[in-house]
Symmetry: D2
Subunit: 494 residues, 4 copies
Amino acid sequence: MKKLEQYREEYLKQFKNRAYGRNLFRTQKEEQIDAPAEECGIFGLYSENNLDTFSLSQFGLFALQHRGQEACGISVSKNGKINNIKDEGLVLDVYKEINEPEAFMGNSVIGHTRYTTAGDKKKYNYQPFFAKNEYDQIILSIAHNGNLTNARQLRKELEEEGVVFKATSDSEVILRLLQKNLDLGLRGAIKAAMSRIQGAYSVVGMTRNKFFAFRDFHGIRPLVLGSIDDKTFAVASETCALDAVGAKYIRDIAPGEIVYTSTNEEGLKSYLVKDDCVRHICAFEYIYFARPDTEMEHINVHEIREKSGEKIWEQAPVEADIVIGVPDSGVPAAIGFSKASGIPFRPVLIKNRYIGRSFIVPTQEMRERIVNLKLNPIISEIKDKRVVIIDDSIVRGTTSKRLVKILKDAGVKEIHFRSVSPPIIAPCYLGIDTPTKDDLISANMSLKELTKYLGVDSLEFLSMKSLMEILGSDKHCFGCFTEKYPVPYLDEMK
Amino acid sequence: MKKLEQYREEYLKQFKNRAYGRNLFRTQKEEQIDAPAEECGIFGLYSENNLDTFSLSQFGLFALQHRGQEACGISVSKNGKINNIKDEGLVLDVYKEINEPEAFMGNSVIGHTRYTTAGDKKKYNYQPFFAKNEYDQIILSIAHNGNLTNARQLRKELEEEGVVFKATSDSEVILRLLQKNLDLGLRGAIKAAMSRIQGAYSVVGMTRNKFFAFRDFHGIRPLVLGSIDDKTFAVASETCALDAVGAKYIRDIAPGEIVYTSTNEEGLKSYLVKDDCVRHICAFEYIYFARPDTEMEHINVHEIREKSGEKIWEQAPVEADIVIGVPDSGVPAAIGFSKASGIPFRPVLIKNRYIGRSFIVPTQEMRERIVNLKLNPIISEIKDKRVVIIDDSIVRGTTSKRLVKILKDAGVKEIHFRSVSPPIIAPCYLGIDTPTKDDLISANMSLKELTKYLGVDSLEFLSMKSLMEILGSDKHCFGCFTEKYPVPYLDEMK
Amino acid sequence: MKKLEQYREEYLKQFKNRAYGRNLFRTQKEEQIDAPAEECGIFGLYSENNLDTFSLSQFGLFALQHRGQEACGISVSKNGKINNIKDEGLVLDVYKEINEPEAFMGNSVIGHTRYTTAGDKKKYNYQPFFAKNEYDQIILSIAHNGNLTNARQLRKELEEEGVVFKATSDSEVILRLLQKNLDLGLRGAIKAAMSRIQGAYSVVGMTRNKFFAFRDFHGIRPLVLGSIDDKTFAVASETCALDAVGAKYIRDIAPGEIVYTSTNEEGLKSYLVKDDCVRHICAFEYIYFARPDTEMEHINVHEIREKSGEKIWEQAPVEADIVIGVPDSGVPAAIGFSKASGIPFRPVLIKNRYIGRSFIVPTQEMRERIVNLKLNPIISEIKDKRVVIIDDSIVRGTTSKRLVKILKDAGVKEIHFRSVSPPIIAPCYLGIDTPTKDDLISANMSLKELTKYLGVDSLEFLSMKSLMEILGSDKHCFGCFTEKYPVPYLDEMK
Amino acid sequence: MKKLEQYREEYLKQFKNRAYGRNLFRTQKEEQIDAPAEECGIFGLYSENNLDTFSLSQFGLFALQHRGQEACGISVSKNGKINNIKDEGLVLDVYKEINEPEAFMGNSVIGHTRYTTAGDKKKYNYQPFFAKNEYDQIILSIAHNGNLTNARQLRKELEEEGVVFKATSDSEVILRLLQKNLDLGLRGAIKAAMSRIQGAYSVVGMTRNKFFAFRDFHGIRPLVLGSIDDKTFAVASETCALDAVGAKYIRDIAPGEIVYTSTNEEGLKSYLVKDDCVRHICAFEYIYFARPDTEMEHINVHEIREKSGEKIWEQAPVEADIVIGVPDSGVPAAIGFSKASGIPFRPVLIKNRYIGRSFIVPTQEMRERIVNLKLNPIISEIKDKRVVIIDDSIVRGTTSKRLVKILKDAGVKEIHFRSVSPPIIAPCYLGIDTPTKDDLISANMSLKELTKYLGVDSLEFLSMKSLMEILGSDKHCFGCFTEKYPVPYLDEMK
């Protein structure tokens, strides 16, 4: 049984750290400085109304758990003292026991959920990051979602100036730039930092008496503003986190905007670092990442997904008996497709809720056995049927190919595959962890080749034109579809 | 901020042990001997074809994770030596690191997933249970789903005979009865045990060279048989676990049946302890517990649920704009309802996947804030609409009431609530953890009172007649709806 | 600094597990089945007078700590239930926190201190050993000091009969033989075991309602009996442990004697398995192992050591200015030597109390630096003096050679080395962990060669004749000096 | 057995943290800010000759283990980076496993052994202390032996200036004063600190590129200087630590002296902050604390102790059969007494090496049982004898009283008790942890009363005159004997 043991070991390796991951786009490489950064969730709350901001921040992070399950962290400022708890695990696990809860009952709080990574979990990369003074007191803390494109260069320059880094994440570059410039005042420090960093960044943070948030000049990663009452402001990656704390969604933080407040300020101040910024929210947030109940720029994500299903029916109609969505993000599109086409929607792919997106065992023999482990079809519902199957996207193609096999094994008559995003032909350098071009199947196969490779009767991608129509704008980041990014300088990343 | 800290503490208590629970029916009391037992999942595999049964058993248990997330365990027999690993946590977590994997590469394996409990986690109640000989070697191991109704009495008798118990679970009574009678041979021991125990039990087990499974005389809890090849047999609570290991579903283990095999036997032997047993599968397995892709007695669970939606439309039609299902088990019924009624199905209640069914904070103030934390509606989709909302059942009524509030806050015009199970008026003594009668809202309110209590425009439960029509039989356990149980003697339980 | 780091690593390895060890005789090899066993301390107490036997047993073991510092253990019988705590560490550390102290407040207790070993610490070899019944209850527990000479053979035979071993220690053979024969009654079981085992063994033990002790047919390892009151009996390796619990020393357990008691017996029963046994207490117990305040056969150890100093002066007088004893066991001999010779005794070798006997670093360079780390002389006291230095024995010779160097570096004029034991020329197979013959310097060098090797002005060993005169008997085990052992069959050991 | 369990609990509390302590002077109170500080050992090494300073510092601390067994710590500077490891435990335990040994292979090292405390062990009080810069890098580290008498006042002043303290020890006041003044240069910073702190302090320390040591203006606690070669300097509390690393003892650091060096300096620089300082080494270091092989001001400690025995014979001769020393520090005095008087010295009080000085159980019943646990006499040697018993001092009197009881129980005919220090009548505020005046028996009883209380036939203390003769000087701190301290301002301490 030597062989068994060997693939057993490989197999167990696969399992590791994957329990709840959304590792669709996961590269298998180790984290490196400036490596494609993580999709994350950030949240912040400032209240002068004696609210339990610590509990509320947990609610907010819990609602953003889909943006990162590896680790989470919270910094709280109470009477000018900042405390931080961050650890591996889900929000409900990390905060179930707190040593000194009273130290966290402050009026200002920021939090972060961190995306699962394939490699070593490096605790020093967990967020919120913080900087200390010479007496070991935290004087500044931030949580960042996005990815800087000139982090390596900036880090080098800062190190030459005597700055010492403790982590490998590009987010620390933002922290150290702020720390270095704190004598310019908070707004001055943020402005100074924004003048040097390039890329995608949505940031919430605090000093010992101030609370702030800011967003890059293109507004690539989402960041919304809400309020619970007239003295309580919330900032979050998605509106679903505002809902979770009972906050009203006011508006999105603008590209190039700084908002900040403190006990000395009246209300929340806003300051635009640049006037002429144009929004370029990541299109993939709508297609895949954001929760369906979230709104960005006051547009509901679920609606966009339903429309994408309608649109792809218009674009590529087909005769079929049933339409199926790949759970979870393919389901609204399937419903839209059904609505537009009249073909009945059937929820007959059952997803195991206790696992992430990928689940691979190394040997072919074992792989064939577990093909239904993550998605299991109700065979009686699809046998001998002509099936339209709708997924949000095709990345490497392996998941789609496996799905096709499941359907075929279940005895479907025809398979018509629809991706409600355009072909992904380029990596993301702005906050989503994608494979390199070599592993993006649409960068390497024509539609015809891919149709054959998947073994389907027809295959269609949403066109860029359709996508822009649905989103109602061409002002988005479409980099992964077009290889054109809103950020000019990307050399370091490539 | 004293007050904040106080409810903070209470609030954290609430969180504890609830991360992934399905605690719809959870009583808040501590475990006691013979207390209402847990809904669990069991799995077993016997192969003479050199398969990696340990990996496969993890796949099987993973597919049964919905039947219990508190703990899991696996016993493996290798060359006459039984090893066991059981621990708190999900399958993917407990088995990600194994000290001596080679000790688990045997040909016979049984496993168990254990339901979350509200009280103290007591490790000695984790399964599989095992009995040792005088040299500390495991000679017998079993995994049990169900609940004995005379466990307390049997335990007392056995203790008087000198038997020593190590846990408080009724499952240990089965183990000790088997251990005590092992000199009758395996089949004799099982027969002797079955002659004394009463209640619901589906059991898989192993001695050092034999593998076996047996089911109570009414077949209350599910247990199915499958095969991977002619020398590899699988036994599982649900067929979805057979699918997960690539096994073909052969049939359900019959009420009163023992199946067993060993290296000395040819194939799997079957033995009927009683000839005249009548099946009474728990109806609630179809309604709520089982996975939709599972079949019991060759009937697909998803189909039953869709039919329940159609049936309740027939039973209680209503004019409305959209129909919504409470995720997850209410969704197929909503689709059936939509199909029958023509009212469009809208998947607009978004469920946070990182939490169990209940999520309660202690103070009213905080509770009002987090009402949307678990289920968040897409307001634009339901505002000013007449809504049919379908849930699998109403137990305490608190969850339903909160849901109605969410919908009203979102501005729906009318709410028509439909439960696709009959009113629950009595506790389950046969394997499901339910509240006492005092806490079952339908045992304490008329339909009219409940309609008013929930604040809905109409309310309807599936009738017993409809339920029997859907299931195609009156031979089920309907105890929680009728207070009539297939097992005669229940005095000890009450 | 590569080189530094390398020997640093080797150096740290040396430190490991050596903190408090008496590893004079330590072989560097790993433990093996039947490998030279450990010198250990055992203790037992039985009381019907409601004494705190658990505390008292800790006092007793504490007084025997010099016989073993690696690990210790205690078994207590309370109301027919035996509990056991054993762990790595000193008595004061292992028992400073107890989970359920009330479970240890029983009337019968046995304990064990285990000698430090160079190799892996194997927890399963810690004592007291115990055997369980099929319900995981301890039914028998023993603590053993000594070494069996036919353990390997017996183990093989027992395994063929189906007995399962859990440890590698020869002590488990005694346990399993007793367990196997328990149906003969306790006395019958002990008798049956003693008829099969050969070698040195002093044993204390308990069943659920009985307390017992027995000693091999030659009485090689010590075992004494005492009483606190008429209903409280104590058994111990040394009388210093009786003193520690306030017990009166009655007598030594006789060779081939079993003593036992229980709640049903009146007082302590004694039974002689053989009538004609002759005592052969290990001579080295007097010379080195036992505490100076201990008596064996009513002879005080300190007195023997003083006499050995007097005797070696008679045997080999010398002109000198001062006499020094190597702490600790060489000091009484030095005082005896001083008394007999009139040469002043000077306590000028200062021993660091926080380390064991050996302390070696791997590189020559570093070794030279730390030569004074364990023993540091007061130079002003010995410079330009003619010094008699007295040690209890010379084993490998390395320690003595290093000591000579220390003295020479301090500027002594003459060194006259005296060993108050005869040359050690053979290993011990009966309970002391000695090097093999190859490493015993007296087995490989003549007196003349050794004198030159050590670089001393004169060297003398106590003669066998002198030793027998001091001990007042030739009925001892002198195996390590004569290669003649009281136990006939030693083939397995060699 | 309720009662048993209760005192069992109290008894276990007694054991806690006492394993190896020298708690002669231990107060039972909790640590407080500025509470009487601990007797400790400090060590430092600076080498430009590529020595393994980390190993050597362990040798040095190991030799100072008698000055503190609770915790130990080492700071190493390597290439401008300071690393620190400190933990509870003995040197041989704390450093047996190091995560990144290469980080500790630097050229400059300081270390500290910390005295056992009765109360809570507070990790933040372990030494060496260190200060960090804003990038979390250690820039300064010190180890301190002694006690400041104005620490509370200084701490208050510094906190008002914005300095943040992390521990409760007075040693941190020194650290923060140095940190605050670092811009004056190292020497300037030390000078500035010395101008403000009062009391007893011997300090070794390092910045990222410098090594230093300094001593208070009275030289109360010891501090010696040695060298291994012309580029390797060692500083230590006692010369025995110099011996342990193979360093030559050069001289004592002078009162008010700073020594320092760095890679830029040539050799070791010395700077006298004040010219007219007068040495006042603590007399109790000679009597009790220091190791007998240590020299202070080139006077050997063992010799002083022998002389004290001779002197007390001269002072108070007596007829007796034998003289006994209480191990360990009473033994040299007993030998001196024997030499002067001709009364034979007998080493017949056997000390258990595995325990600290005090060992108390709470109930009288149990206490009577364990009276011989720590010191056990060889009865045959003292029975019916007239005994002179010599101890280094009498503090609370309880230990002495117990000892007298042991001797009487053993049947001695007469007891003549001799303390080779004068009566202790006042607490120490300068680095030794003593009881308050209320608990010092000589502060509360006349010689006559004490003689009666102890129940001895005669009692004598060494006179102050004799002590000064032995020490050859009246320039010592005799505060505990005279209540006159060399440090003027002690109000804060009282």
